[in-house]
């Protein structure tokens, strides 16, 4: 209506706008030239530091705290607990305890050994680059202890992929092959791969595995012996420890990083499969393996011209062995032949290795194998007796596999043993706590990876007896079902080669690791089938492939992957649609030969990244474009977020991902929309005001989005001026809708990212919203309304944006209701992300301010992919029927992601449309095509392979409880929006009731009076209860609508690891951290306290507890907490003097302080958004939040865990 006030860029107007603050405010901006900013920086920075000085603000805050105190508190809860504790603890734990103790003891030993090893190793490996060393060390220690997954050194999920102990065993088994090396070798060239029927190869292997292990006992021995024989494992592992790539040589790792782009000649995986498959069935493990060493060494040495030998740092004992092992570079021919013979493991390793290395790797492997074999034999004898003790270790050994992409054949034997041995073990948990700490060293490696194992976890077992994961657990009797450390992801019951190649559970998880054959079977199991994806996760190791042709199936367009079968040298059969494709592999620069498809990295790794050619572009790759849309109404200025944002932006301006084309722009809005002309050459930024919000238009066609590098000074000027520009504004309205429309217009030619900062309900123009929340209904137990959007404006806008490759990220910083349910749509459908800071105030709520600061840092600097699409393919017979996450579903299997970020997770529900009886394996593949911030078009491909089973018990054995719970959470969110919250809650409870009753009806020998769950699902009821008490789904407790909706948004968009922490936080006791049971990360010692139940019963007044809720840490201090702890760790003389609002731990030079800080920072390092620490003592306002997370306790409105179990039992009996 009103004429476009600022339409023509009028310098005068700009100046006026810039100095609204009156004389006092420092609006030099108008007057200032380019050089000025520095002066301004001074004041700005001082402002920013406020957060750290929170102390000063404390007084203000205390007022609000008052009303919190009434909230139900621990006293009540603990009382309850005690009651039920009495009835709850059957005294039978003690008996098994003894067993446990012994095993523990051994563990400790091992652990110590590993320690030593660890220390020793580094010097040896000195020759190689830092990275490799680390890897080596970690793997070494790891192996050593085998049971105790000390992943410490691994930076990443990836690194873990190769499990050392496993590998070694694998070798032992392989040794069978060696017995007839001649034959195989001779055969290889001619035979190539025997044409097996579809999946035939796999099938064979598979079955062979599932055969009752004839040689179990022997194998076990070998295994244990291996674990004891550290040195060997060391050697092997070092290379193996390397990431997904599986490259054997640690040095190779380093090289790989650099070279990863090159195609590396890789050893044929298929070969491995075939060889091992056939061979596996014959079980004469040990004797053969012994022989091997003799024959082999000669070969290995002769073949290898040891180039890289320095890489392996053999432990002293190892040194005696033929040094040849490391030899990386060999004559390609030799490598080829020999490598082929030896088959799988070696080959796999080689695959990822950088081009030059690849050929030689085979030889290496041989050598390694020899060594191993030798070791095995020797170790067998020596260690035979300790087998029992090693169970722990064995179990642990098995685990690594779980998490690791690559698993080795070993697992089966180890598993079997576990099942026998572990029963007592499991029960022993409660009694043993102290011992345990030592014994099970910290599995929890990299937080990102949740799955390390606790010894109990859901191993997916194979045959013989009852697999561990099926062991019935009486839920009402077993109180301590939590693992000592994080819950492991179950390992698919696959043949070892496939397991080794499989995708990391961090990126790709399936709710059922054993896929039921038919939909009928799936229905019987009453568990949801689906995938949880974290496709764009930050990876430290990722094979990147540049190739003129990207090999894909001709009919279904599946990317070639490790699970295809090669029919002969020239053809391969797609594992998704079973089409036979002609070989398209061209010249391999590494081996200088044609063909040899199996050596290609894409056939060696289930996670790879291709650099795509122009065929994969609809237009030239877009530049990185960032647009910030900022609320500057009175409310926003009052909250003070602008200061934090501008400061973060100034700090991270150079770190914004992008190249020389990066562009940036700013829009602010209150009741009008203001644009900023930052055209290079201007002496200062110009503000252009458009007040015609009903028909928004862009005041100038260009120069609103400017090149970051060319206009940097102007941008800095603007950022310095912005926080003060609106200090005296009286504008309370917010025209968010028009501002977004303007932003869309601005971005539509290029695409990019719009970051919206909003602090209140939009009240003007298109997309205005009205308050829908009735505060009196917050704690209603009946109906929760308004979970869905009020208008389709934001959805339409999001779809428009998505169509123009623009994502909208929403930062909602509000103190009152802002209808997140409606606003969130703008991010949900444009593949953006949502951040919400309830009751944000820069000075009154320092914790939120600090969180915003940290989140912004991550947000601005994290990786980003533009104009992305993700396609999820699965084996014929399966189909996807629902997607969860932030994106727009463009066609049945194609998700359109305008932006993709490393913190986004996705979930997919699947159904089985055709019976899978013809196949023994199914595969899932996600391909994420995106433009990197450097303007490269890339495709990241993950492939997951899972076995098909036909019996119900196998389905239960393979259930991945965490994935199931996360998928259910996603489904429940949908349900509560489309139907009602009560429905969703019922559905969650029914999911437990149905699946447990279905399980109990299959297990005939169970007494009906007990509530029994398979071991794999023993945490299911607990997690569901946690979900019911989660903000998103709870009833009866006062929950603000926006909080609830935000929790729901997070459920849909968080990857599994983070979601699990949200649902079921981790509780640790940290006042007695010891140096026992620690892991080493980057030369830091990180203590590993055991997980505690989330119950007030565990909180003692003498202790201090840390609760890790994912986005926030609570540090609860008991009233009678040791003064030394308070003094050392918190820096205050006694309990009373600890301030109410404390968000940082001081650096005190005391061991307990160091331990605590290293533990906390280790937890922090594991996640993208660094959580804020809140110290809680009694009578602290945050106390309620803390106690709300103690989900095993009863609250006024919800069951305790025990009551919940009884409730379930009742429903089952009905």
């Amino acid at each position: 209506m009103s004429a476009p006030a600022g339409l023509p860029p009028r310098p005068a107007a700009a100046a006026a706008a810039f100095s609204p603050g009156g004389p006092g405010s420092s609006l030099e901006a108008a007057a200032r030239a380019g050089g000025a900013p520095r002066c301004q920086n001074g004041p700005m920075q001082s402002q920013m530091q406020l957060p750290s000085g929170y102390g000063s603000h404390l007084p203000n805050y205390s007022a609000p705290s008052g009303h919190y105190s009434q909230v139900p508190n621990k006293a009540a809860a603990s009382h309850l607990d005690n009651q039920y504790r009495a009835s709850y603890y059957p005294g039978y734990y003690s008996a098994p305890a003894q067993n446990v103790m012994t095993s523990v003891g051994s563990n400790v030993l091992n652990a110590q050994e590993s320690h030593q090893l660890y220390n020793n190793t580094p010097p040896h490996s000195g020759g190689s680059s830092d990275r490799p060393v680390q890897g080596a060390v970690s793997s070494a220690s790891y192996l050593h202890v085998s049971a105790q997954p000390s992943y410490s050194a691994f930076d990443n999920h990836y690194s873990t992929s190769v499990s050392s102990s496993v590998a070694s065993q694998g070798f032992a088994r392989n040794s069978d092959h060696y017995a007839m090396p001649v034959v195989s070798g001779a055969m290889y060239p001619n035979v190539s791969y025997p044409p097996v029927a579809a999946g035939g190869v796999y099938g064979q292997t598979f079955t062979s595995q599932s055969l009752p292990a004839v040689g179990q006992f022997k194998e076990t021995n070998a295994f244990s012996s291996q674990s004891t024989s550290v040195p060997h494992s060391l050697q092997q592992h070092v290379p193996m420890g390397y990431n997904t790539t599986l490259s054997t040589v640690s040095s190779a790792q380093a090289v790989q990083d650099n070279l990863s782009r090159n195609l590396t000649g890789s050893v044929p995986k298929v070969n491995n499969q075939i060889n091992t498959g056939g061979i596996d069935s014959s079980q004469p493990v040990h004797s053969v393996s012994q022989n091997v060493p003799f024959t082999k060494p000669g070969v290995g040495t002769s073949a290898s011209s040891a180039v890289m030998s320095s890489v392996r740092s053999p432990a002293p004992s190892l040194s005696s062995k033929p040094p040849s092992s490391p030899s990386v570079t060999q004559s390609p021919e030799l490598a080829l032949q020999e490598g082929m013979q030896y088959g799988g493991y070696v080959n796999n390793q080689a695959s990822s290795a950088p081009a030059p290395l690849s050929s030689s790797s085979d030889d290496e492997e041989e050598d390694e194998e020899d060594e191993e074999a030798a070791l095995d034999s020797s170790s067998t004898t020596s260690s035979a007796s300790p087998v029992l003790n090693n169970y722990d270790a064995l179990e642990g050994g098995g685990y690594p596999e779980t998490r690791s992409v690559t698993s080795s054949p070993v697992p089966s034997p180890s598993v079997v043993q576990t099942s026998k041995a572990s029963k007592p073990f499991g029960y022993g948990y409660p009694a043993l706590q102290p011992g345990y700490q030592n014994a099970t060293p910290p599995t929890p490696q990299y937080p990102g990876v949740n799955q390390l194992s606790s010894s109990l976890g859901g191993l997916s077992l194979q045959h013989s007896q009852q697999p561990e994961s099926l062991r019935p657990v009486n839920l009402t009797h077993d109180r301590n079902i939590l693992p000592v450390s994080s819950v492991p992801a179950p390992v698919p019951n696959l043949n070892s080669d496939l397991r080794k190649l499989n995708c990391s559970p961090d990126s790709f998880r399936c709710t059922l690791t054993n896929i039921p054959q038919t939909q009928a079977l799936l229905n019987k199991a009453k568990l949801p089938l689906g995938l949880l994806l974290h496709p764009f996760r930050d990876l430290t190791q990722l094979p990147v492939i540049t190739s003129s042709t990207i090999v894909r199936c001709r009919s279904c367009r599946t990317y070639i992957n490790p699970f295809v079968s090669f029919i002969d040298q020239r053809r391969w059969k797609c594992n998704l649609c079973y089409r036979v494709n002609d070989e398209e592999f061209m010249y391999n620069p590494l081996t200088r030969s044609y063909g040899e498809p199996h050596k290609r990295p894409e056939v060696q790794n289930s996670t790879v990244e291709f650099i795509a050619s122009s065929d994969y572009m609809l237009r030239p790759p877009q530049p990185a474009v960032y647009l910030f849309v900022l609320d500057v109404s009175h409310n926003a200025v009052e909250a003070g977020y602008l200061t934090i944002l501008c400061q973060s932006l100034l700090e991270n301006l150079d770190k914004l991902p992008g190249d020389s084309r990066t562009r940036i722009g700013f829009i602010t809005f209150d009741s009008t929309v203001q644009f900023y002309n930052l055209q290079e050459g201007l002496s200062q930024p110009q503000m252009l005001i458009v007040s015609d919000i009903d028909d928004i238009f862009l005041p100038t066609p260009d120069s609103l989005l400017v090149n970051l590098h060319e206009s940097k000074e102007l941008i800095k000027d603007l950022l310095n001026a912005l926080p003060n520009m609106f200090t005296n504004t009286r504008e309370t309205h917010s025209a968010l809708g028009p501002a977004l429309q303007a932003a869309f217009k601005l971005m539509s030619p290029t695409g990019g990212r719009i970051s919206v900062f909003q602090t209140q309900l939009p009240s003007l123009g298109a997309g205005l919203l009205h308050s829908r929340e009735d505060p009196n209904q917050r704690s209603s137990t009946k109906v929760v309304q308004h979970l869905g959007p009020a208008t389709d404006f934001y959805k339409k806008l999001a779809l428009d944006c998505s169509g123009q490759q623009t994502a909208v990220d929403l930062f909602l910083l509000s103190s009152q209701y802002s209808d997140l349910a409606s606003l969130a749509c703008m991010s949900k459908y444009s593949a953006g992300c949502i951040y919400y800071y309830p009751s944000f105030h820069r000075s009154h709520n320092p914790a939120q301010a600090e969180k915003l600061q940290k989140d912004l840092k991550r947000y601005l600097t994290r990786k980003i992919g533009f104009e992305a699409v993700m396609r999820i393919r699965c084996t014929k017979g399966l189909s996807i029927h629902t997607f969860h996450g932030n994106f727009f579903v463009r066609s049945t299997d194609l998700l359109s992601l305008a932006n993709v970020n490393p913190d986004a997770g996705y979930a997919v529900q699947m159904s089985i449309e055709e019976s899978l009886t013809d196949t023994s394996l199914v595969c899932f593949q996600t391909a994420l095509l995106y433009t990197s911030s450097k303007g490269e078009r890339r495709i990241r491909v993950h492939t997951l392979c899972l076995p098909v089973v036909s019996s119900l018990s196998d389905v239960y054995a393979g259930a991945d409880v965490q994935a199931v719970v996360c998928l259910l959470a996603n489904m429940a969110v949908d349900r509560s929006v489309s139907s009602s919250l009560a429905d969703a809650r019922d559905a969650l409870v029914n999911a437990v009731v149905d699946s447990l009753s279905a399980y109990m009806s299959t297990a005939s020998n169970l007494q009906q009076s007990m509530l029994v769950a398979p071991n794999s699902l023993k945490l299911f009821p607990l997690y569901i209860l946690a979900l019911l008490k989660q903000k998103a789904f709870r009833t009866g407790t006062s929950t603000r609508l926006d909080d609830r909706v935000y929790a729901m948004c997070q459920m849909k968009s968080q990857p599994l690891v983070h979601l699990m922490k949200m649902i079921h936080p981790n509780l640790y006791r940290i006042d007695k951290l010891t140096d026992e049971s620690t892991i080493h990360v980057n030369d830091r010692v990180v203590p590993q306290p055991p997980l505690q139940k989330l119950s007030a019963e565990k909180l003692t007044r003498e202790g201090a507890f840390l609760m890790d809720c994912g986005s926030i840490f609570y540090l609860w201090i008991g009233k009678n907490c040791d003064n030394n702890f308070i003094k050392d760790v918190l820096g205050y003389p006694n309990y009373a003097s600890v301030p109410q609002k404390m968000t940082q731990l001081p650096e005190v030079d005391a061991p307990s302080s160091e331990r605590t800080r290293s533990f906390i920072s280790w937890l922090r390092d594991s996640r993208p958004l660094s959580p804020v620490l809140q110290v809680i003592k009694d009578e602290n306002p945050a106390k309620t939040d803390f106690f709300q997370h103690l989900i095993e306790d009863r609250t006024e409105a919800a069951f305790s865990y025990y009551e919940f179990l009884l409730n379930i039992q009742q429903q089952i009996c009905k």
């Binding site: 869905g788 959007p789 009020a790 208008t791 389709d792 959805k795 339409k796 779809l799 169509g803 349910a821 409606s822 749509c825 949900k828 459908y829 029927h881 629902t882 997607f883 727009f888 579903v889 463009r890 066609s891 049945t892 194609l894 949908d974 489309s978």
Partner: protein, 139 residues
Amino acid sequence: MESVVFIFSLIDCCALIFLSVYFIITLSDLECDYINARSCCSKLNKWVVPEVIGHAVVTVLMLISLHWFIFLLNLPVATWNIYRYIMVPSGNMGVFDPTEIHNRGQLKSHMKEAMIKLGFHLLCFFMYLYSMILALIND
């Protein structure tokens, strides 16, 4: 008079048949990925109201002209149409929502619904045709 009613019904029914066919074609285009969800839904949503009206008119007409059997036959379908239109959540872009059409088998159920309607309209078509001829003869 009666013949006029049936002639009108017949024409209306033809239109509805064409509409059903159009729905089916568009949905199957979406299924085969020939068009994207956004354009598919905006195309279809345009025709939801005409369909509701078209069917409601016939139903009312039958009621007025006291053809009870045909009225009762049409009633459930007309009710369903109106119900479906009314029950669209406020945040959705219409009966067909591009963000949800690929979820929870919605596409399939829409397809099924369109098929059933097509069958129903064909049935009605012949019924009206028969009634019309009968009415014309009687006249």
